[in-house]
Amino acid sequence: MIGSLLVLALVLGPVQAYNEGNRLYAQKDYAGAVRAYEEALKSGHDPRTHYNLGNALFRTGRIGEAIVHYRRAYYLAPRDHDVETNLAFARAYRVDKSTGGSSPLAVAAERALRWLSRREATVLAGVLFSLAGLALSAWVVWRGRPLAAVAGVLALLGLYGFLAQQLWAAEVASRPAVVVVAEVSAASGPGEEFKQVLLLHDGTEVKIREVRGEWLLVQLPGGSGGWLRQSAIECVYL
């Protein structure tokens, strides 16, 4: 295994490592594919690599880690239907079922805003607000309805991008993470001596509320939570 890692690191670039991962995946060598995709990710984040890595992890039974990489792929390419499908599929394999539920209106609004990735939303908001600013400046100086209309349309589109960007920023700021061990119990305090209050399983998605050394206070969508060791979870956003 160390030899194959060395070969991956020394001989293969990210593209070759990615394609090697695809070859191993097709041969059902999923563990080898995981190593190859991880090597490909060392040079930067590509949604396709995260997606394929999620698939390979799912095939090896590492549901939690698969969810982490599907979510990273979704963050980078939210309009990719495959990513959305496999994320939902992996979530269905979790032992712990999600109890959080949102209203249909909130879900629709979130889907509309999540149509753009955070990068796209940031660029769109920046460019459109800048153009709207220039159009507004021209209108201030020269006046004229066409200028005002152009400025208004550009500002509205820029606002959409800005809201999408803010939604992603809030998501990242909430520090989401996923349980990546088969089973772990959360304690009522940051230490082994505290009472075990919650049993979590591979793939359960949580949010990190507080960090104390190697212990993290995590919260589930329903509001319950507890303290876990850092090694039991993996953060979605690096």
Binding site: V15, A40, R48, F89, S130, L131, L134, L136, V140, Q196
Partner: protein, 604 residues
């Protein structure tokens, strides 16, 4: 007296002293494997913590012990998981095992250990030990009591009978040739014709290559009278175990040694009660021939079982909702190597997730036979709604009696799931039958990959800031333009700087041309014009006094006003006085006047 003391000392019950701290949530106990130990010899202290929903126990605190060395420490943990009312419950026992050695003879106490857990402190009871001289070169310590020698056997003094053949360790294996996994009963006894006071293991029995099931271990001598080859012996069982060989080939039960203190006859009139002599007795190694299990006809369902078993399996429910797991319980009951049997393999079923089973052993030894039940519980999670079938569970085992394999099976089992979180369709309205669901396939090969950061780019924010600044500038420009048109004073003030610069340049040009009259006229116009523009005053229409008052109202300082009028007056004099210098005169005075005018303008 000495013999009596030894009897009391040995009468302590092996491992029976346990400090128990009763508590609502956890139980904390301490025990030792022997209460009479040899000086410098290793013994074991076990601190056990047991509790519900406690998957990790805090570290107990063992106080410093002056008379005992701590040689090492290890932990072991066992967990029992149960589903009650759909809720998972866990009960865990964590054992902290300390290897100790006493370093002082006599009575030694292991003090109470303490444990802090969720704000409570638990303590065990102290354990008292008797430390006797070690086995190294002399009498070994013995746990247990000789009682009164061995009952019914003729007590004999050491000096009357030779040791050879009259004191030995008997190790008996029920069979010398077995299959892998087939049990062997092993009895270890002390056989003697002497009166024995106490004793202890010099070399503990070791069973490398075997899985061991302990049946009996003596905590005191209980001699029975037996006749062996015409002689009467006292026989005390020391240990009885059942061994299961792990691998084929030759497995050896190693030599073991036991130290006993044998009574001595009185040697003189001063030794009325006699004394004890330490004697070491060794057993011989025993070689067991372990036959491999037949390769031919071995069923694929074989998972290590050797013996005679029956199989039972059942689901705990036939319907489930909301993705709750269904438990398939498989029970294997019978005699044989139950602890060595692996879980049966369940094939993958589309739409079901079958988790790793929980295993529970309920094994006991009856009449030298290991029997009991091994239970495997498989949690099965439906991934969608519908009716599911779990295929039959099959287990095969090797029966040494018939020297062949036997296959057992139970099932299949069906259950219905509804209200699952992920509604995996079983069929569609179109009539197409969905055979199963799976993740979408991987993305194809690429020729390039993005090397993006997870963080968004920074430059759009800079663009937005520049754009905001542009809007601000536009608004400022618009406001300035409108005020220029509507506010005359603002307009005059706005243009005053540019105008005065132009006039001063003009004055300088005139000075260079040595046109002093023109210079003074232009300098005076520049100064008064600047004054009028800055303060929005019609300076030409005002008298000197009116101008002074107007300047004072605009908070122009009196020295500045005086300096202003001084420059104006000097310009007037230069322009209209007949003594004014003619063209071609030195320009030193006009230069000073020019600088004074600039100074005044700077102060207004």
């Amino acid at each position: 007296m000495r013999r009596l003391a030894a009897s009391f000392r040995a009468a302590l019950v092996l491992g029976g002293l346990a400090g128990i701290a009763a508590a609502a949530e956890i139980e904390f106990t301490a025990s030792v494997d022997q209460t009479t130990v040899g000086l410098g010899e290793q013994f074991q202290l076990v601190l056990s913590v047991r509790g519900e929903d406690m998957l990790s126990a805090p570290q107990p605190s063992l106080p410093a012990m002056a008379a005992i060395d701590v040689l090492g420490r290890s932990t072991s943990q066992s967990t029992n998981i149960s589903f009650i009312g759909g809720q998972m419950k866990k009960e865990a026992t964590v054992s902290f095992i300390y290897a100790l050695a006493a370093k002082q003879l006599g009575k030694v106490t292991i003090p109470a250990a303490t444990l802090s857990y969720q704000g409570h402190t638990y303590t065990t009871q102290p354990i008292e030990l008797t430390v006797v001289k070690g086995a190294q070169g002399q009498a070994a310590p013995m746990q247990g009591s000789p009682g009164s020698g061995f009952a019914g056997a003729p007590p004999a003094a050491r000096s009357q009978i030779p040791l050879e053949g009259n004191l030995y360790l008997s190790v008996t294996a029920s069979r010398r040739s077995v299959y892998v996994g087939e049990p062997i009963a092993l009895d270890i006894s002390l056989v003697t014709r002497f009166q024995v006071e106490n004793g202890g293991w010099a070399e503990q029995p070791g069973f490398d290559g075997f899985w061991t099931e302990k049946v009996f271990e003596a905590d005191r001598f209980a001699f029975e009278r037996r006749t062996i080859e015409g002689k009467t012996y006292g026989v005390a069982d020391l240990k009885r175990v059942v061994l299961f060989p792990i691998a084929p080939g030759e497995a050896t039960i190693k030599r073991m040694a036991f130290n006993v203190a044998v009574s001595q006859s009185p040697q003189s009139i001063f030794d009325m009660l006699g004394s004890a002599q330490s004697v070491r007795v060794d057993s011989k190694p025993i070689t067991i021939k372990v036959l491999p299990l037949p390769e031919s006809d071995r069923p694929v369902e074989f998972n290590g079982g050797v013996g005679q078993f029956t199989l039972a399996a059942s689901l705990d429910r036939t319907t489930t909702t909301n993705g709750e797991p269904v438990n398939l319980t498989v029970r294997l009951t019978g005699t044989g190597n139950l602890r060595m049997i692996e879980p049966p393999k369940l094939g993958a079923v589309s739409g079901l997730k079958i988790l790793t089973p929980e295993t529970k052993d309920d094994v006991r030894v009856e009449n030298g036979t290991v029997r009991g039940t091994k239970t495997f519980r498989f949690p099965i999670i439906p991934q969608g709604d519908g009716k599911f079938e779990v295929p039959a569970v099959a287990i095969a085992y090797f029966d040494p009696a018939t020297r062949g394999y036997k296959r057992l099976s139970a099932g299949p089992f069906t259950f219905a799931a509804s209200g699952s979180a992920s509604a995996a369709p079983v069929s569609e309205a179109s009539g197409l039958k969905v055979l199963g669901t799976d993740i979408d396939y991987i993305k194809p090969d690429v020729t390039s990959l993005a090397a993006a950061s997870m963080d968004p780019p920074w430059w759009p924010n800079v663009m937005m800031l520049i754009s905001l600044a542009t809007v601000g500038l536009a608004v400022g420009y618009r406001s300035h333009s409108q005020r220029l048109q509507s506010d005359r004073g603002y307009a005059r003030k706005s243009r005053s700087s540019a105008l005065v610069k132009r006039r001063l340049r003009q004055a300088e040009q005139l000075l260079k041309k040595q046109d002093e009259k023109g210079f003074h006229a232009e300098l005076s116009r520049a100064l008064l014009g600047y004054l009028g523009d800055r303060l929005n005053l019609d300076t030409h229409a005002l008298t000197r006094e009116q101008l002074r008052l107007a300047l004072a109202e605009h908070t122009v300082a009196a020295p500045t006003i005086d300096a202003l009028f001084d420059v104006v007056d000097r310009c007037e004099v230069a322009r209209f006085s007949p003594d004014a210098a003619s063209p071609g005169a030195p320009a030193a005075e006009p230069r000073k006047l020019f600088d004074a005018a600039r100074d005044v303008m700077a102060r207004i």
